[in-house]
Symmetry: C2
Subunit: 284 residues, 2 copies
Amino acid sequence: MTTHGWQGDVRSILRVAERFRLADLDPGATPGYEGDKATGAKDLAKRMARLDDLQERLYASSRAGTARDAVLLVLQGMDTAGKGGIVRHVLGSVDPQGVQLRAFGAPTADELAHDFLWRVERRLPARGFLGVFDRSHYEDVLVGKVRQLADAEEIERRYAAINDFEARVAAGGTRIVKVMLHISQDEQRARLQERLDRPDKHWKYNPGDVDDRMLWREYRDAYETAFARTSTETAPWYVVPADRKWYARLAVQELLIAALEDIDPQWPPATFDVEAEKKRLAAS
Amino acid sequence: MTTHGWQGDVRSILRVAERFRLADLDPGATPGYEGDKATGAKDLAKRMARLDDLQERLYASSRAGTARDAVLLVLQGMDTAGKGGIVRHVLGSVDPQGVQLRAFGAPTADELAHDFLWRVERRLPARGFLGVFDRSHYEDVLVGKVRQLADAEEIERRYAAINDFEARVAAGGTRIVKVMLHISQDEQRARLQERLDRPDKHWKYNPGDVDDRMLWREYRDAYETAFARTSTETAPWYVVPADRKWYARLAVQELLIAALEDIDPQWPPATFDVEAEKKRLAAS
């Protein structure tokens, strides 16, 4: 484990337990981390070098054609939970060439004409890449359930389909890190209020966010069911308290580092004769 | 113009003139910039906020559905010229969500079965995005010409095809910024040598780089012909001396800022009734 303010293994601390209830986890808490916003910002900056080094090694293997592994970060959460901030402040520190970012919006007509996992399959990260899903196939058992976009039987089918899908993806070498950013209703109100108050934030506001907000309990239940049904050994769910942005960023950074350390990517060996190339270069 | 060490308009300074010769521009020079590596690093950091703000405004318009413009940065140069460093250190400072990075390698069988612009068309940035081509359709008149992957008549046809293509893309609202990173043969040797000396850099080395290096003059000629034939009013070429990485990054950053300032992207107006939404939020 690290000595960067974390008082234990971040995965054990944040992983959802059986019968986990969102109400039992304070969105303003900072579980496992000893420190405040200032030390959090410092630790985030400090750990960037580690994340960066691991990610570069992974990417190197993709370039050398030896990559067998990938990382997929799945980001979920109510509107304003901070998904964009994670992308920017955590993923922004690594080489953009090795990151594959995919945002999932409402499905297109073409996507709706296929199984819900069709569009997901196409956007999985290639070997050697760090993929990020800004929303994901989980929308199909969250908004899909809450707004009854599919009938109960179909929603039911999807949990099993997701588990099979993720098991196959994991068996193919992709570490799946599923994160739910957990904010409080009060914090969401404040963030939405800011988007309404500032003209330079209007573009981030969507009246549908308030519609969803009015269904807070239904979403909470849908999340809890999703955790219960799809948190598996190979692809567990982590719930990250997100009222404090600095904590959420730090926690996701640490989860990514842990996933990459599992892979332990090595610099690929030269696929050419180094000494011969040195001579060719000297002669050129 | 800016007061950040630039002694004039960076576009006028770096734009290729008629009958431009690479030999006339010292790859170690820092045209238009008063300062050294230390001030350069400081200015790069200082100007990030400006690039970031402009890019966020552009991206906001894409989210609001009002985007009409895009920026496309085309990066060319001999191996080790620093394309990856530009992506990382210049583009790395803006929100990854608004950047569409595309690397062009040797064409696949499927791509070869189409016109050379087919794969390029598909990778153009969407409105509201900042697109980056790491290599591009210019490879088809550079390596394509030097290694005679196509006959002379076909190469000839391509210059005109590129101009027509870029004119259409520009008319559609995309600012095309074409940059050739200009390094010296000595600097390239030093950079390749480092890749051979360090096992953690071996993955960046490709024996083909030395093959290309041995054709330095042929590439130089091919670049000069490409400039002469495809540097147009709507899509001019800029040649950026790149032996000093800090200068090249600073220059490309400034070229991007200039392109975005031309667009002058505005925060999109609210598409909803702000006061009504404030009431709905308060009641939720």
